[in-house]
Every structure is written in structure tokens, then in C-alpha cells.
Amino acid sequence: MTALLQAVDLSRRFGGVQAVSELTFDVNQGEILGLIGPNGAGKSTVFNLLNGVIAPDTGQIIFDGADITGLPPYTVARHGIARAHQIMQPLLGLSVLENCMVGACFGRENMNLADAREAAREVAQSVGLGDRVGALAGSLTTAGKKRLEMARALSAHPKLLLLDEVLAGLNPTEIEHMIETIRGIRKSGITILMIEHVMRAIMSLSDRIVVINLGKRLAEGTPREIAENPEVIKAYLGDSKLLTTAEEGVP
Amino acid sequence: MIGILASVVDGVLVGAVYGLAAMGLTLIWGVMNVINLSHGAIIVLGMFVVYFLTGATGVSAYLGIPLVLVVGFLAGIIIYWVSVNRVIGRPILMSLLATFALNMIIIGLGTAAWTTSPYNVPVSLPGITVGNYTFTGTHIMAAVIASVVAGILYLFLHFTRPGKAIRAVASNRDAAELNGIPTRQVLAMAFGLGVALACVSGALIATLFPFTVLSGGAYQLKSFVVTVLGGLGNPAGALLGGIALGMVEGLATPFTPVSWTPIIEFGLFVLVLIAFPRGIFAFTKA
């Protein structure tokens, strides 16, 4: 396994809070890596550091052989990292298709408009928004907007997809649906780094999991190793759900 | 040298009045995120209220200040419910345009009623002579009144129930609403207060310089400069910003022709906006 992304000694402080502290991890080519941790552990900050929304104070980010530390988000996107946000940010006044076209046009492949239109249509189809391409993004339901967030990121044909709690706020049927979609994305060759609170899902989807707490790396391993790690259980205050869902979830 | 110093001191006196005007602008901005583009027209309204008051009753302009406050407050409440309430929380363009429309209406009606010829409010106060330079009495009085009104505003915002409600709504409207504060009424009150401050500053300016219906534009732009210097939404910063602008004007007067003052002002304005978008004196607002 070769590393697609290497985060080395990342640190970032906000005022008096050390949000991320000397964090190091790799994302291997083709895998699904889960990033979990209690609320406020710094997970979203890690994503913001990775895709350039904020710059790290110290540390280095190597993506696909290139140093992308401190580059602005649009340059990072061009390198092939796409992101689906936890708080959905659809371009409300544009159609579903146009939303996806933005991803395709300005993502890794720098497509022209006509190519982007086709790519966007295919991706929208693939995440189940095929019949809504002409609708305004603002008219979609919550689940629809989550799918759009994903479709828009996928339209860029990224090498690495960052998924920030894409399952939050969905009902069980919608979650099943989304899990299938995520599996499909990985099968197409896209590497995935995901933050998730729905334990059953992350335990069953991830090849490996990195646990962070208070901005530091707490543990790393397969879902089963993580579920049995006493430090992780302690950080989650003995959340027994973690154990049970892991046992059910891992095939 | 003493001439420059005197010019700067005089600039500070006038600057206190600019600060008061800007306070009205910044209060509204801070509480409801609306930049009031009818600010200049409202300053002019204050000028004319004091002009007609002194003309009709013969009382001193300074005794008319409380009445100007009341008239301004009521006008502000009306303006809020007619044109501002519906654009609260909408894109910034909408509130800019709604208040600008109001500006057009007030200026248009004012021009129809009073033409654009100059007016002045006759006030005579003895000056204070230091060495061979005399500080104008009206400038001193205006600065004193501006400072007193600013002080009263501070006490009102920090030590009265309605004042605390305004600050609560400014810091977090949703939380204030959940705590049972009638936010829309509070917004209307804050708007009324901002307009009242603008009116009083207009009344004070009328005692300093001649004015026309169209004078408001220049003072509105000064208020913007002051507000940006002091940090948007920060009343205490506004007074400091006003004094800073007054000093700059006072300092520039002996060295450059008067017509160059706007270039200095607006150059400063744009530079400060770019360099310190939160204002130079933006230390009080968290």
C-alpha cells in the first residue's frame, strides 16, 4: 500500500485552544480511512487543514507526491482533493446540475463546460439525483442536499474524497442508501477519508480508523482493534455502543 | 507651531461631533447588521429641525437639543417599521437599497420644500483665547454636548433594562428571542436611537457651519470614515474615530488646500478598510 496523503506533525492553534496538535497519519491509496473522536476533538479542523481552508501553524501535508501545505482551497481542489461538508453548502440559486458542474469544471480535471455538463449528469445519476438535475439546489430535501454535496465533490473526479458526517441527519433507509453509494465510490477507485458519528456505519465501511482526542492522535488500527482499544473506550467515556456496533458491523 | 496645535485642537472639537454622528450609524450596524444609507439625510433633518425651532420660538439652539432627540427617535421608529423591518436578515444589498431609497425620498422632499440654498443657525458664544489664538465658542460647546450625549448613551446601554436588551439582541438575536426579549421592538428602538443620535449631531453641525439640503452626503461619508476607523458596530470606537478624523483634518488644514481634505479622508478610509477591516479601535467588541 502506498500513501496517497501524508499528514506530518500538523498543529493548529486558535487563540488559547490547541485545536490540532502534532497530528500524523497516512491515507493509503484506495482505502476508506475513518477519522473519529469525541465532539470537539478537532476532526473538522483536520479537514480544514487538509483542503486548505485554514493553514497549519506547523507541519506538512504531502498529497500524491506534492507538498500542498498552506495552499489555498481552490489549488488543493485542483490537485484532486474534494470535500463534502458537514454543514451543507449548496449553491442555492443554481440548479443541481450546475452545482455539480462547478465541481467538475474547477476540480482535478479542469474540464470545459460541455464535458463538465456530461460528467455532472453522470455523477448526479449515480448518487440518485438523476431526475432532479434541473431543480434548484435550494428546493432539495435535507437528504437530497447531502447527496448533492457528495455529487458535487465527485464531479471533480477527485483522487481523495473528504466526507464530513455525510450520514448525520439522515433516517435509517437513507443511511443504508448512502452507505451503498460510498462503497460504490470506493469501488470506482477513489480514496476516501471520512468523519462520521454513526458508529455502525464507520465501523463497517472503514478499512482503518484513526481516533483523535483533544487534537492529538489517540489510536490507529482496524475497526476491531479500535473497538477493543481501552484508551479509545475511555475517551468515549465507556460508550458501550462503540463495542457492540463494532462487533455487529465488522463482517 | 502654536497655529498647528490650535488647528489640531479645533479639529478634535469638531471631530467629537463627527464621532456622535458616526455613533448613530455604528449603533444601527452593530445591532441589526444594517448600514443606514439615509444617515446623511437624517443628519440634515436634524439641521432643519433646529433651524425652524430657533426661528419660530427664538430659544437657543442648545435648549432645542432634547426636542431634536425626541423627534429623531420617533422618526427612527417610523422609518424602521416602514422600510427596515422587512429587510432584516436579507442579503446586504437589500438593506443598503431600502435605506438608500429612504435617503432619496427625504432629500427629494427636502429639496422641494427648502430648495438647495444655504441656511444657517445663528448662535453666538464667547470664544476662549489662549495666547494669540481664539477657540470658537460654538466648537467648544458642540464638543461638550456631543461628549455628554455619548456619555448618556453609554450609561443607557449598560445600566438600563432597554439598553441591556439592545446589547443582548446585538450579541445574539436568537438567544435574546429565546429569553423572551421582543427582538423586533428592540431593533426598532435601537434604530430610533441611532437616528436620534444622527439628528443631534446634525443639529450641532448646524450651529457650526452653514448647510443645505444636500450637506448630508458629506457628513454621511465622514461618518463612514469614522465608523471604519473605530470599527463597525462599536459606539465607543466611533467617538475615538471621530476625534481621530478631526485631528487629521485639523492637521491637514494648515498644510494643504481645503479641497484636498476629501482625498486624504477617503484615501485613509479605503486604506484602513483594506488593512484593518475590523477597525483600528476595534478593541471593545468581542
Binding site: L91, G128 | I35, S83, L96, L97, F100, F266, V270
Partner: protein, 347 residues
């Protein structure tokens, strides 16, 4: 469901581009809306000469200037979501550069006004890099500051006549074959600039660049994460939105025979352009045209009527307030919401 999802995602991942730019251009040429712009421009250009009506030419000229101002401002306000309150600075500065070159240096009129456009755009690009970092109201205020600072500067700038401005002598029109044909020449050029403004607006809206700009207008942070190079795009659209107004300024003031600071940098005209956009519908190509013509009609009516001439500003204000409070989508937004088939024709 699950296996088909996987397959389709897999297919999407291996997609290969195959569209060329030539195809894209050809696709646009079949668009009826494009030809609507051309026909409209031709009608405006030739109506006065066909009808042999000079007063019609004068009012159409004003309308064409308004359309130019409103349409280009719409690129910022309607597309990029940045409120440029001081947009008139492009018109005024372009006017000064154009008139100055044409009169003091006897440069060919067309070259002079083009130089005005290029100069203004270059300044706007450099400047935009600075002030476009500001968001929302801060940007709007900065644009007012820029206009006022340049206004004050030009008022003191002696080579451009200071506060009195530049007056053109009759000789200035000699290269165009005298004042009469000079006025017609200016008219055709201004209408051409109007037509180019509309084509520009349409071209941007239907381009990849435009998609990026629209994305910025919707949510700038999201656009950046999606890969839109926001600082560069914003500076470009700011510079582009200044070019044709600057050219129009040169032509307009040359035709008027005088340019002076208060007329050239009048903040009210800036706001009037915003009123036109709002009246017609922001973010559309057609909206600013409709808005500009309606506003010009209204203004003409108010100026002629003795009763209203004083109250023109009041009525414009009331109109603006009503639009903002009750019809924020403008006429076009209102129509398109009710008649979806109009979308194809009225972009």
C-alpha cells in the same frame, strides 16, 4: 439498486473528455437569445435615422448609456454578488481619459475611448486585488470611498481642468466631419457598446468563467473549496465590469462637449444603475435592459411634467423601496417565476 450505483459511480470515474471549444461556440450560435441581442441592438441603432428623429436619438442614447452601466454593474451585483456602489467611477474616469486624449493629444476618438477602457480595467484589476478581499457591506463602503477619493482627486487635478473640467471646442469634432456627423458617429458607437455589453453579459453567463462567478455569488467559501480560484476571478470580473462603462463614458462626454467632476462621478447615477438592475431583475441578461428602459421612460416623464420635476427623486425612491420590499426579483424574476417558458427566451 446497490450494484447499479456502484457501476454508475465507476463509470463516472473513468469518464473521458471529448468536447472541443469549437463545438461549444457552435452551440451558442444556435441559441435564439444571442440573435435577440443582435436584432435589438440593430433596432436601437437605426430607429432614429429611419424615423429621422433627433430627439429620439437623444433619449435612446441616454437609454443605451444606462443599459451599458446597468448591464456591466449586473456582472458584479447579479453574478458575483458584490455590491459595487461606486460603479460610476469607471464611467467618469474612462470619460476623463477618453476626452483628455481626444482633445489635448488629438488621438483618434475610438483609440482614445478604448485607451480609457483599458486604463480603467487595468486600474480596477490592481485595485480589485486589494478591496475584493472585503466582504459584503465592507466592500460596498470601500467602493463608495474609491469613487469619492477619485472624485476629489480629479477636482484638484489641473491637467484635467480641476473643478471646471474640460470643455470641447467645435474643432474637436472636425476629425469626425463636423459636429452633426460627429454626434451620429458617437451615437452608433454608444449603441454598439450597449450591444457588446449584452453579448458580454450573455457570454459570461454561459461560460465556465461565468459558472465560477455565479458560484462565488452564491457562496464564496463553498466555491473556493470546489476549486474556483476566487481572488483572481473576482479581480477579473471587477476589471471586466469596468471596461465598457469606461468606453461609454469617453463617448458620452465627448458627445456632450463637456466633462466636469460632479457630473462624471455622481454617486446618484451609481445608485440609479442599481435601481435599474433591481427593477428589471438582478442576475439576468435581459433584466438590466428592461430596467434601464423603464427607468429612462419614467425619468423622462417626470422631468417633462412640471408637477413632478421636483419630486423625481422622491418617486424614484418610493419605486426602489417598493421593489426592494415586495418584488426583490425584479420584473423579470416576477415574470419567470410565473411563466417558466420565458426562461429560454429571457436569459
Amino acid at each position: 439498486m446497490s450494484s447499479s450505483v456502484s457501476q454508475e459511480v465507476a463509470k463516472a470515474g473513468t469518464f473521458k473528455p471529448h468536447h472541443s471549444i469549437a463545438e461549444e461556440i457552435y452551440r451558442h450560435l444556435r441559441e435564439p437569445f444571442l440573435w435577440l441581442i443582435v436584432v435589438f441592438t440593430a433596432i436601437v441603432a437605426f430607429a432614429p435615422v429611419v424615423m429621422d428623429d433627433v430627439s429620439m436619438r437623444e433619449s435612446l442614447l441616454l437609454a443605451a448609456v444606462y443599459v451599458t452601466l446597468a448591464s456591466n454593474l449586473n456582472l458584479m451585483i447579479g453574478y458575483a454578488g458584490y455590491v459595487n456602489f461606486g460603479n460610476i467611477v469607471f464611467f467618469g474616469l474612462g470619460g476623463y481619459i477618453g476626452v483628455y486624449l481626444a482633445t489635448s493629444w488629438h488621438v483618434n476618438l475610438v483609440l482614445s475611448v478604448l485607451a480609457g477602457g483599458v486604463g480603467v480595467s487595468a486600474l480596477a484589476y490592481l485595485f480589485g486585488r486589494g478591496i475584493l478581499g472585503l466582504r459584503g457591506a465592507f466592500f460596498a463602503l470601500a467602493t463608495i470611498g474609491v469613487n469619492e477619493a477619485i472624485h476629489a482627486f480629479v477636482t484638484n487635478f489641473e491637467p484635467w481642468g480641476g473643478a471646471t473640467g474640460i470643455y470641447l471646442s467645435m474643432d474637436a469634432y472636425e476629425p469626425l466631419g463636423g459636429p452633426m456627423s460627429g454626434l451620429w458617429f458617437c451615437y452608433y458607437l454608444i449603441v454598439l457598446v450597449m450591444g457588446l455589453s449584452l453579448l458580454l453579459s450573455y457570454a459570461i453567463k454561459t461560460s465556465k468563467f461565468g459558472l465560477g462567478i455565479l458560484a462565488i455569488g452564491q457562496n464564496e467559501d463553498a466555491a473556493a473549496v470546489l476549486g474556483v480560484p476566487t481572488p483572481r476571478y473576482k479581480a477579473i470580473i471587477y476589471a471586466v465590469s469596468g471596461f465598457l462603462p469606461a468606453v461609454a463614458g469617453g463617448l458620452y462626454f465627448f458627445k456632450s462637449g463637456i466633462i466636469e467632476p460632479n457630473g462624471a462621478f455622481d454617486l446618484t447615477t451609481s445608485i440609479e444603475a442599481i435601481v435599474m438592475i433591481m427593477l428589471g431583475g438582478a442576475g439576468t441578461v435581459t433584466g438590466p435592459v428592461i430596467g434601464a428602459f423603464l427607468y429612462e421612460e419614467l425619468r423622462g416623464f417626470l422631468l417633462v411634467s412640471e408637477t413632478f420635476s421636483h419630486l423625481q427623486l422622491v418617486l424614484a425612491g418610493v419605486l426602489l423601496l417598493i421593489i426592494v420590499l415586495f418584488v426583490p426579483g425584479g420584473l423579470l424574476g416576477w415574470l419567470r417565476a410565473r411563466l417558466p417558458w420565458l426562461r429560454k427566451w429571457l436569459q
